[in-house]
Subunit: 318 residues, 2 copies
């Protein structure tokens, strides 16, 4: 019997990935389009239609359904994106919209939750029913799976791991709070720390790489500089890693998961530095019962976790 | 038809409460005995037997079963207290021991989880399926109910809310970590702060109350002093309340519950000061989606939450 395929859609503030995906998680066809939030909902939806039609062009296998990951608060029961600041969407009935066009089963979930699902089923957390997925990029988000179920929360807002307060009077976060993990350890925080140290006169090989243009500094450049022993980069990455490690410690103590998986852009380029510091911090700080047998790993699915997880929504509900 | 009754047992490091309890949570008979950990497991168990026999003496109603709450790590599936430092118990097969004596259904659960169950079913969180119970006393513990289920964790160690790191280089905690919520806001931390301020010369009405004997300071005395405007007491309680508020904020952001309930000895005597500060802190710090509709309340069951929750274990499993 031929396998049915699923369409996965991972909607981000900048880009949208659309894929034709096997139940095994193998992506057969894929396409990336710009979100172009400023063009408005209808234009975005039209672009998604176009991408779906391109990835399914010429495909004779039947399509089982469409799974969608979206940033923000998603009412999974009714298939509504309640609030997605990055998309400027409020109460968008995405499930109905997509269903009316394709007459296929449609499921929608928060994008970080999709990542958690994918890692739990096919990635670094395979075979685990108790798993936390942390994505470190421009922001820090997360998805929590307990006893095999995603924690949605009372308002579909569970998993906001990036907004744990780490430092009572720390730097102001995008959310308005002070000292959030995101404000201390996400990509922009790392870059901000590097610029601050350069501005205060600290020596670094980074300056040469960016031709003295501080706007060109990226986490990848810092990670590369750290690889060759740049002490400023090492110091800043160590500090971010320590805060991430405290965040992981808190989650381990509160939820006692089997596996914590770290992914996202920052982990992709600097994970080889950060993971060791995160693990050491957990070793130093977590309760024995919480850290014994706890696996802390880098994502195996990388950027595809959200897309693959979106496709799994349909298989899960079938 | 006559209601069946349940025997509830709440085992603590200092005392053990045994009660004869209606399904409604009403305690018909109760007895408190000292744990006397130093006398060893057999003596403790014998004392529990004696107490059970006393609370059931003359009762003709049939007993449905026995529910036990114990501190520490409890394997609820096999009914084993895996590790309870306060009791010096390791791998104690409590369910088997009690079952062999009474031939009744026996259930056992972590004591903080019992408290969460009781508040969710009969207390401040009635009718909520997403609830966090925080007990603030000598330590800070917690029980988390998501979608109606207790979070046990992979090693039966979920809910260790008191060991969230609040301050990277804060005071050393009993667990070995630095800056845990427990080390900043539990009873001993509050008393320590008061003594420290007195030793550094701060004026307070407390000194008169305790006859200049700093060993006699309690949280209750501090709360009473704060009631009449003692500025040292107010400052120390405000600071503890702020840390508790940050802890509540973190839990709200991570798990998005409907209700967070605070109980335990410190909340009983100082809850009227702390609750307002906790609520204000959450208002200032939590994500809108996490704080909108979030109820933060003091325990309605007080010291009986653990005992009543233990009795609910049997009803739940029946």
């Amino acid at each position: 019997m031929e396998q049915e395929l699923v369409i996965g859609i991972d909607i981000g503030g900048t880009k949208i990935d659309v894929g034709l995906i096997e139940p095994s998680g193998k992506i057969l066809e894929r396409m990336r389009i710009w979100t172009n939030v400023h063009e408005g909902l209808n234009a975005v939806v039209q672009n998604i239609y176009d991408a779906i039609e391109k990835v399914t062009a010429g495909i004779k296998t039947s399509i089982r359904g469409i799974g969608i990951g979206a940033p923000g608060q998603v009412d999974v029961k009714n298939g509504i994106v309640l609030f997605a600041p990055n998309l400027k969407w409020k109460d968008v009935e995405m499930k109905r919209i997509i269903h009316e066009r394709y007459r296929l089963p449609v499921e929608i979930e928060n994008d970080a939750n999709c990542g958690a699902l994918a890692e739990a089923k096919l990635g670094a957390g395979s075979k685990s029913n108790n798993l936390i997925w942390i994505t470190v990029g421009t922001g820090i988000g997360g998805g929590i799976i307990i006893d095999g179920n995603l924690i949605q929360g009372a308002n579909f807002a569970g998993g906001e791991i990036g907004h744990m307060t780490m430092k009572k009077n720390g730097p102001v976060c995008g959310c308005g709070n002070k000292g959030c993990l995101e404000a201390l350890a996400a990509g922009p925080a790392i870059i901000h720390q590097i610029r601050k140290k350069i501005n205060s006169g600290t020596q670094t090989t980074i300056l040469k790489v960016v031709d003295n243009d501080l706007n060109r500094i990226t986490v990848e450049i810092a990670a590369n500089a750290a690889d060759v022993g740049d002490s400023l980069s090492l110091k800043v990455l160590n500090k971010a890693g320590e805060y991430l490690g405290i965040g992981v410690t808190n989650l381990a103590n509160i939820l006692n998961p089997e596996v914590i998986i770290l992914g996202g852009g920052v982990m992709e380029v600097a994970g080889h530095h950060l993971l060791k510091i995160i693990k050491d911090t957990v070793q130093n700080r977590a309760l024995s019962v919480a850290k014994n047998n706890l696996k802390i790993e880098l994502s195996k699915l990388g950027n595809d976790a959200g897309l693959i997880g979106a496709s799994l929504l349909v298989q899960r509900s079938a």
